[in-house]
Symmetry: C2
Subunit: 138 residues, 2 copies
Amino acid sequence: MESKDLRNAGLKVTLPRVKILEILETSKARHFSAEDVYKLLLESGEEIGLATVYRVLTQFEAAGLVTRHHFDTGHSVFEMNLGNHHDHIVCVKCGRVDEFFDETIEKLQHDISEKAGYKMTDHCLYIYGVCEECQKLE
Amino acid sequence: MESKDLRNAGLKVTLPRVKILEILETSKARHFSAEDVYKLLLESGEEIGLATVYRVLTQFEAAGLVTRHHFDTGHSVFEMNLGNHHDHIVCVKCGRVDEFFDETIEKLQHDISEKAGYKMTDHCLYIYGVCEECQKLE
DNA sequence: ACTTAAATGAAAAAGCTTCTCATTCTTATT
DNA sequence: AATAAGAATGAGAAGCTTTTTCATTTAAGT
Ligand SMILES: [Mn+2]
Ligand SMILES: [Mn+2]
Ligand SMILES: [Zn+2]
Ligand SMILES: [Zn+2]
């Protein structure tokens, strides 16, 4: 039930917010651009403006419901926050995105921040490469 | 002598390219937005268009003279390629950028790519945090 | 139901980057 | 040193993603 999530986040339960949350939760994909979400809304018959999609995704991010990524694609990518931090490996040919988590790297990042005198707030590691499928096509 | 670098990169020796290379090499800073470079050119009395700055930086990147970064700032950041790969730690308050290199993390990234079936082409690790100076101001 | 503040949609605007095209400059050749 | 051919430049237009504006609609507490 999405209404609870929204209320917990201090957000009014509106149709656009419910529908967007629904798409983020139930689609096969896990990583969406704002445009992706907008198109999926249209496909499902909802007339929700692109500006609202951006607004709502930004609010979801602020509320911790969603994480925003900055791949080298020129646009933001959003993903439901399932509480499991992970990093990304992106295919430069087809755009496929895989996820990974490495305890050792996480620890080292903390050490590095500390040594540099920083109080770490966030971090992200992007590996770019050619996925198995795309290697075959070359 | 910048002319040699340019010729080696297969680029004609033009005034904009020489001046931009000069700025990248001799400024105290190491990380520049296109706008940064443009302003430094104006300050030094050169009338070079912003479009040319973008064009030249992109050519430098293609030639391997320069590396382009995508911090969470909404604009590209360029840096002379000195042959020493490193990653970045960025202050979310003041924009300060520090650099680091960790052999172990580098190795682990290779292992992860391999395990995921990817042929790695590039990678970048950004740590975001509050630098020592900015912590004092809070 | 009523009221009030918040949310939405459409369009405009912003911010960064690329493109277009007439003009200028580099470089190789006389 | 002059010439010719093609590449590079500058100014502005245009492109793309994202944000803002503002009139209208909607949610939620009374
Ligand atoms: Mn993910
Ligand atoms: Mn650097
Ligand atoms: Zn691929
Ligand atoms: Zn700082």
